[in-house]
Symmetry: C2
Subunit: 517 residues, 2 copies
């Protein structure tokens, strides 16, 4: 057994049975080993950002990590943005970066570079495999580090000769770190706060936003009057189907400040204290109101949902809430706009869907329009590195072949990793992509004013628009093998969405809409 | 004047008047400043790898650096692969990475990451701008570091508040480091070697391959019988139009060994000792034959062409060579194959063309077929990080608007940075792209065997093929606004190429051909 085979066997023994990859020569023995280790599925991406974003989306939905396989430093570079998003999501990823044979590195061949230094940007756990005899142990340690909690991007650097040499030894899984609720004393101290009559906000993120966490938070709010807020970009939020609808903190600091206004205490559960996404001249970065005390309930290693359930008990919250589900919108008619697209999605979202939301400004009406939809999972851009929505949808569809996936995608963001469409076509993944094509970096048009830049000149404006020429996403999608259409009214859009959702395999619908900003 | 304006003014004062960019919110003041600093041209890419690869291609042709503007750590990640290629080419690049405001970094907002650690992979010169008052000096130092010689990727990290704050002070250019020929004694010692009767090889790379260097090398060979070899992946090789045709070292170590066989001395001029691209089990990485002595003539700081001219003098080489130019191939007929595509290019390559060659296995016949073509510059993939050809062609066309550019592009490689087509369409660049679509990672099929991997299984094979579904590059190109066609015979291909070369603006021709391996 060579090193690569031992590596794959150990991954499978650890429950890691999917690898998103874009391999090169130095990874050929890894690729060859796919046929010896039958439980491992290889999913090819034609760009590394597809592979890393898919691994993130996969893990968010599967609740366990996938592996990615990248080709030396440049491959890691190409995959870095979506590993950044995974890091910010605390998503577990086994990030395997092939390298030159150990003895070849001294020659400074064309693809030689310092992989370790790049990996440090996204990984706190990095190890170079140096021997097929210990590769199994390296892999088991990587899986342990990746799973956490909290989840991590664990990077294994895999020299070609360690892959190809005989003497590979697989290893058994290492113990998982146990995750329980926060300490009783910490929970009791927050419970006292909630009973004190002070105005308390519960700010939730990370692993707190599963069904149990969402229900417990709503029960706590009902019992105590606490204000519940969800972080702006949750990695996975369970919604719809009668689940309590939690309010998300706005992206714009001005609105977020209104949501937080008047709070005397802000309790963080698996998230960090709210700050603006960017700095703006003469505006505060820290969104916590003056005089508001911030409390951390537990930490990232805890089971945040268990913490919330214990907190609900401690404040004598009702066991069940009788909620009236919000209404679903009707299928809209008339002009195709961000509003009518949102309403159509609200009207048609199928049960048990997964929504990968990278629609930026054009998507601002979608959460509201879908609050009354059947149960679904909502994935967002945790790290702000655009180009995540299509790959994450791809990975989510691999993780959950029985669930329909909807990718809500801004035109500008889509272009970073548009190659994901090919993987969707090849693996016939049930992903329906909606491109909100407003033919501009609309968010930058908005931000230009917010940062106080005098950006009205023609050269600045030219850097923010995406027309001249207009991008035809229908042709691009079909070029990658995904059936696509461009309806021009709300009615035609609804028909197209219904058809796409009703058929297996990938589809893309381009919605040309006016920019909001 | 704010920091961004001082930065742009200093770039322009240093002769850097083109910036390839994919900006975000933290770079909005830089973008706004484009309208105040009229001499600076902004060229938008919809993916960062386009911007960095274009900067590389631009500098190779313009002989001076461009700037690139990227958005924080993830933007740098997306641009890293082509900065790697620039680093390996010793191309000067002013790599500007926007960052959060200095006071905002403490909050660990979504896009916060360690930019410095990523930059270290491609830059030995990195500086964070900390004050608008010193930003001009930072920029001048970056330009000095980038220009070298040798050329470098100089990275400036630009916090948003340093951009937007008043008090910006531009700076004058710093002194350029002088570059002369290697020392007389070093030249004389190599001249003695060349006169000794021993079998000597001259191995040329980097800046040695301009017209003067090529002519001098051929004259030395004519006078002394030395064997002249060019590095496998030169950054820019001048060819055609009666220039002496120099032999390039083969990519495959087996062939390279034959080319080097029997040499007693190998003299390196602006390149490094030849090694295989990858390691292969039981094959040497070092390509220098046993018993062959390696000599370095000068170093990267020298003017390698001046060194070669002095060496030609020292060996009493003839002032001129009477060369018979190789014949141009006829326009081929019949089947469309890698061979007939190469012959067509050889027959039709226009005078003064720039060829960006990333055609991988399918391109192996093109250098031979174009040796008799009119004068042209040949750019190659210096760092092995694929996805460079289309961006480099884009940048070369920006640098040389009066020269036709031909991008020879493998299907697999094209997909990494296919978004370059949009920039070509927007800026109406005169680039004709030929996609060699063999519907596979053909080079990996070859390498699979060469590394000794038992990769015949269906799962391994599936990771190397690019059909199921076939990629339609015509649709993708048209989706990005580039006119495209897919001729199916050699005759139709020649007609299409002639038409594309005869019209201004970008074109793409998809050549579906059988794989060579």
């Amino acid at each position: 057994m060579n090193g690569a085979q031992a590596l794959l066997q150990t991954l499978v023994a650890n429950g890691v049975d999917t690898c998103f990859m874009n391999p090169g020569t130095s990874e050929m023995h890894f690729v060859a080993a796919l046929d010896q280790v039958s439980q491992m599925r290889g999913v090819l991406g034609v760009f590394e950002g597809v592979a890393t974003g898919a691994a993130d989306g996969y893990a968010r939905m599967a609740g366990k990590p996938a592996a990615v396989l990248l080709h030396l430093g440049p491959g890691l570079g190409n995959g870095l943005a979506n590993l950044h998003n995974a890091r910010k999501a605390f998503t577990p990823v086994i990030n395997i970066v092939g390298d030159h044979a150990l003895y070849h590195k001294q020659y400074d061949a064309q693809l030689e570079s310092d992989i370790h230094t790049v990996a440090r940007n996204v990984s706190s756990w990095i190890r170079t495999c140096r021997d097929p005899a210990t590769i199994g142990h390296d892999v088991a340690a990587a899986v342990q580090a990746a799973i956490g909690p909290p989840g991590n991007v664990a990077t294994l650097i895999l020299p070609a000769d360690v892959s190809w040499s005989d003497g590979g030894v697989p290893a058994d899984p290492l113990a998982k770190r146990p995750a329980g609720a926060a300490d009783d004393s910490a929970i009791e101290s927050i419970a006292r706060l909630l009973r004190s009559g002070d105005r308390v906000g519960l700010f939730l993120g990370g692993s707190a936003l599963g069904e149990r966490g969402v229900r417990a938070a709503a029960r706590i709010a009902a019992a105590t009057g606490a204000k519940v807020l969800v972080e702006t970009f949750p990695r996975r939020l369970e919604r719809g189907g009668g689940l309590p609808e939690l309010e998300r903190l706005a992206y714009l600091g001005e609105f977020a400040a209104m949501q937080l206004d008047g709070l005397q205490h802000l309790v963080l559960v698996d998230t960090k204290s709210p700050v603006t996404f960017f700095a703006y001249p003469d505006k505060p970065s820290d969104l916590v109101p003056d005089g508001c005390q911030v409390h951390q309930l537990g930490d990232r290693r805890n089971d945040a949902e268990a913490t919330l359930e214990r907190l609900a008990l401690a404040v004598d919250a009702p066991a069940e809430l009788a909620l009236s589900a919000p209404a679903r919108p009707d299928r809209p008619t008339g002009e195709l706009t961000a509003v009518s697209v949102a309403a159509t999605i609200g009207a048609l979202l199928p049960d048990n869907a997964i929504v990968s939301d990278e629609a930026q400004t054009s998507g601002m009406f979608t959460p509201g329009a879908t609050a009354g939809a059947p149960r679904h999972s909502w994935l967002t851009l945790t790290g702000g590195a655009i180009g995540q929505g299509l790959p994450a949808a791809t990975g989510a569809a691999v993780a959950c072949p029985d669930r329909p996936v909807l990718a809500l995608e801004a035109d500008g963001s889509a272009l970073y990793t548009i190659q994901a469409l090919w993987t969707q076509a090849r693996d016939q993944l049930d992903v329906t992509t909606i491109i909100y094509n407003n033919r501009s970096y609309s968010i930058l048009n908005m931000e230009l004013g917010r940062v106080g830049a005098d950006g009205g000149g023609p050269k600045a404006q030219a850097m923010l628009d995406l027309h001249r020429p207009n991008i035809d996403f229908v042709q691009i999608a079909e070029g990658f093998g995904v059936p696509a259409c461009r309806p021009s009214t709300a009615e035609a859009f609804a028909d197209a969405l219904e058809r796409a959702l009703g058929e297996p395999g990938p589809h893309l619908i381009e919605a040309v809409i006016p920019p909001i900003f």
